[in-house]
């Protein structure tokens, strides 16, 4: 399995790339549009977009000349997914621990 989680994190670790994703959350945008708020040349923005695209966080349309970028939320969902799952594992386990502790204490009391 490719290490998509590491890829996502590496991609998200940069503030410019997070700002690009935030912009794309409100709709598709071209490289020109994405470069506008930053004090950066287009090639620098393109480099960031390449990182985001490799991590699967954005996709780019092939057909249009300007190749607009689109936010892909699935990898971000993956990132939040394990956290949710792991938290659930513990919540469920602690429910059982609670019941188990009640049970052994009831047994101990009965035996006295």
């Amino acid at each position: 399995m490719p290490d998509t989680l590491s890829l996502s994190f590496a991609a998200l670790a940069d503030p410019t790339r997070r700002a690009i994703l935030a912009r794309l959350a409100s709709g598709e945008a071209t490289v020109m549009e994405l470069a506008a708020p930053f004090d950066m040349k287009q090639p620098s923005i393109s480099k960031h977009l390449k990182v985001l695209e490799t991590a699967g966080l954005i996709s780019r349309r092939r057909e249009a000349q300007t190749r607009p970028c689109k936010l892909e939320t699935a990898p971000l969902k993956d990132v939040s997914c394990w956290i949710e799952a792991y938290k659930h594992l513990w919540d469920d386990s602690f429910d059982r621990l609670d019941a188990y502790l009640a049970e052994i204490q009831a047994t101990a009391t009965k035996g006295e």
Binding site: M1, D3, T4, L5, S8, F9, A10, L12, A13, D14, R18, A19, L21, A22, A25, S26, L71, T73, P75, L76, K77, D78, V79, S80, C81, W82, I83, E84, A85, Y86, K87, H88, L89, W90, D91, D92, S93, F94, R96, L97, D98, A99, Y100, L101, A102, I104, Q105
Partner: protein, 162 residues
């Protein structure tokens, strides 16, 4: 190290009883693990550097293996360990299903007695993440404590505020 999530639970049991439930194989087996699975203990070494190696068996499914590697044990109040999936031999593996899960998760549990009850605090975060990755975790999932459900809409909204 930043904590990704904290779970606090108060148990109606004395401190030593809660500690025992973490420190013996037959007790861990009764309560720990994913919902609906049976834990089969392969190895249980409750000491720093020791392993709790187990199979998670789900009805009608293959066993998934996992392990705790204990790093710190301060009886009767603190346990620190790394949790990961493993193979049958106890070596670390990736999650056996199609979900991006960190290779190892660092856990830190503390127990304190309060008026006859025991308060447990569990703090977890991925092990081996870089400072930058940790920052991303903090930024993106700080709101989970307030019930962030990880749904698309909420994620989009949250992203928009970054």
């Amino acid at each position: 190290m930043s904590t990704i999530f904290t779970i606090t639970r108060s148990f109606a049991a004395p401190h030593d009883l809660v500690w025992k439930s973490w420190s013996a194989a037959d007790q861990m087996q009764t309560w720990w693990g994913p919902k609906g699975c049976t834990i089969e203990v392969r190895n249980f070494e409750f000491r720093p550097g020791g392993f709790f190696h187990y199979a998670m068996r789900f009805p009608g499914g293959d066993a998934m293996w996992g392990r705790f590697m204990y790093r710190e044990i301060a009886a009767p109040r603190r346990i620190v360990w790394l949790n990961s999936f493993s193979n049958e031999g106890g070596g670390i593996t990736r999650a056996p299903f199609d979900m991006a899960v960190p290779l190892e998760i660092h856990n830190d549990v503390t127990l304190t007695e309060q008026a006859g009850r025991t308060v447990l605090v569990l703090k977890s975060h991925p092990h081996g993440a870089t400072a930058e990755e940790e920052a991303v975790f903090r930024d993106m999932f700080a709101s989970m404590e307030q019930g962030f459900g990880g749904t698309f809409d909420q994620l989009d909204e949250h992203l928009a505020t970054l």
